[in-house]
């Protein structure tokens, strides 16, 4: 799910010389002094235009480092820092404010036809109460966005899209709604918290009578939670640490947050920022729209063939092109890798073969808090794209060996 928006990068204020990475663009190195003042002016102006989630005030009160992300004023990390937050989710339980995500309802007798046309996965196979990971192919072989589809009722679906793409996705859905399915953009009327970690279910169960252990992965139930009705409890997440994502009306945000932290004290519950959200998703090997997939990468290249279903009767956007790609193969593939040597791969670094020739580029990378392993992903020429194979990441003046992993 999305993390990066162009706006975020462009408006970030370089208060310290930075060269690459997630918060700051490479070109900033050259620009930084000259435009520092301009940036500051823009940022100040932008501050007043930034959207807030129902929890923004709480993040600030907790001392979080706040930053613009996808138009929202979001917590990047809390005072304890990314490492502790990362480990808290891996070993205990943490809560992320993900209210910036977009939500669209698709309703009516034509909802299924519309979704079968616009998404790559087979929505006909999705039962009520189940969730599906999918993408919008863009008609040019790339991806408009990746998203979750919830079959909420027989003829009512909920789409959860990346915050940075809400406007683009909404325009895309409307432009391709020749079926006249009923569409509603509920993004401003839904708050979302992700409660993640091995102890998440236990904590959440203490606040609801819904039998959470009976909700399998990629399934959801709606019911009463912390005294609030109509809360969607979805066994999904972006961490591979277990846990649920909760959707509710923003007016109950206070009540739910307070209940979570009261009950969470016994479990060591901590708030987690977008920084650890990124290290956790990278460790889990999940793609991030804007980094690893975008309008120029095909789902087949990105290893998303498993959500691209060429089933009978599903005439989705780009089907002929993607079917051809799948049959004939692609020239590059998105692969995950771990550095064998000490170092940290970053977005934009070259991937080389043993002879030093360029065979691809890193799309995401980090040092994993805890294990301190340098990991990443990137597009690699298909002849080198084999699990267990050696590639070399060009980091400054060195080529560091990395192993391709599943």
């Amino acid at each position: 799910m999305s993390f990066l928006s162009d706006g975020f990068l462009y408006l970030s204020l370089p208060r310290f010389p930075r060269r690459a990475g997630w918060l700051y663009e490479e070109k900033e190195l050259h620009l930084r002094t000259k435009i520092l003042k301009t940036r500051k002016a823009i940022l100040k102006k932008h501050d007043s235009m930034m959207k807030e989630t129902a929890f923004t005030v709480k993040h600030i009160a907790l001392g979080a480092k706040m930053h613009e992300f996808a138009g929202y004023n979001m917590p990047i990390e809390y005072p304890t820092g990314i490492t502790e937050e990362h480990l808290c989710v891996r070993n205990g339980v943490g809560v992320f404010d993900v209210s910036h995500m977009g939500e669209f309802w698709v309703k009516g007798p034509k909802a299924l036809d519309f979704l079968q046309r616009i998404t790559s996965n087979n929505v006909a196979a999705l039962a009520v109460g189940k969730v599906q990971y999918t993408c919008f192919p863009n008609g040019r072989g790339g991806i408009v966005d990746d998203l979750l589809v919830y079959r909420y009722e027989e003829e009512k679906y909920l789409l959860v899209v990346n915050a940075a793409n809400i406007e683009k996705d909404w325009a895309w859905c409307q432009a391709h709604n020749s079926f006249a399915a009923e569409l509603e953009n509920a993004s401003d009327h839904m708050a979302q918290l992700a409660v993640q970690g091995p102890r998440a279910t236990e904590l959440l169960q203490s606040l609801t009578d819904l039998p959470l252990s009976e909700i399998p992965y990629y399934s959801f139930r709606t019911g009463r939670f912390a005294g609030v009705d109509e809360v969607i409890l979805s066994n999904t997440g972006y961490t591979a640490a277990g846990g649920f994502e909760l959707y509710f009306y923003p007016e109950y945000a206070d009540r739910i947050w307070t209940a979570l932290f009261e009950a969470g004290e016994a479990y060591g519950l901590k708030p987690i920022g977008l920084g650890a959200r990124d290290t956790l998703r990278l460790e889990a090997g999940f793609c991030l729209y804007g980094n690893d997939i975008d309008d120029t990468t095909s789902p087949i290249e990105a290893g998303l063939g498993w959500i691209t279903k060429f089933v009978e009767g599903k005439d989705f956007i780009d089907r002929p092109f993607l079917e051809k790609q799948k049959a004939e193969g692609v020239a590059r593939r998105l692969m995950r890798f771990e550095l064998v040597e000490r170092g940290i791969p970053r977005q934009g670094y070259e991937i080389c073969n043993a002879e030093g020739g360029c065979i691809g580029r890193v799309t995401s990378g980090t040092l994993v808090p805890g294990t301190k392993k340098g990991i990443g992903m990137g597009y690699v020429a298909t002849e080198y794209a084999q699990t267990g194979g050696s590639i070399y990441i060009s980091i400054r003046n060195k080529k560091l060996e990395a192993r391709i992993v599943k």
Binding site: R18, R19, A20, K65
Partner: protein
């Protein structure tokens, strides 16, 4: 924000402490708090003579990479070896155990061109 009086500073948020012809260089308390947890320090210029403003190494936080600039002309004599296993020393003690490199000054008079504690304090006040 801790800004010791006895050090000289740069606009790039480095500090320098001279002891005769020798000096120690690190990043400021403000810089470390802005960067967040430091996870990697790489200096491969030991033995090299560099000019002021030259990049002598890089410092990496979980999410960012930053170049390190030498405040004055000099030869890089030594890198703080403790940082290899404990880069977090830069966060914990930026002016002490978290020093980055030891250099031989080419011209000690250049120190006079750098920012005083008061100058540096004004600089970061303008940034915040």
């Amino acid at each position: 924000m801790n800004i010791p009086e006895n050090l000289k500073y740069t606009k790039e948020h480095e500090w320098i402490r001279s002891e005769g012809e020798i000096a120690y260089v690190g990043i400021t308390d403000y810089a470390q708090s802005e960067l967040g947890e430091i996870v990697f320090v790489e200096v491969e210029t030991v033995g090299e003579k560099l000019a002021s403003g030259d990049v002598f190494g890089t410092i990496e936080a979980v999410k960012t990479v930053s170049d390190l600039f030498l405040p004055v002309d000099g030869e890089v004599l030594e890198v703080n070896a403790d940082l290899e296993d404990k880069p977090e020393l830069v966060n914990e003690d930026p002016y002490g155990k978290g020093w980055l490199v030891k250099i031989a000054l080419s011209d000690a008079a250049q120190l006079n061109n750098l920012l005083s504690a008061a100058d540096y304090k004004a600089l970061i006040a303008a940034n915040v």
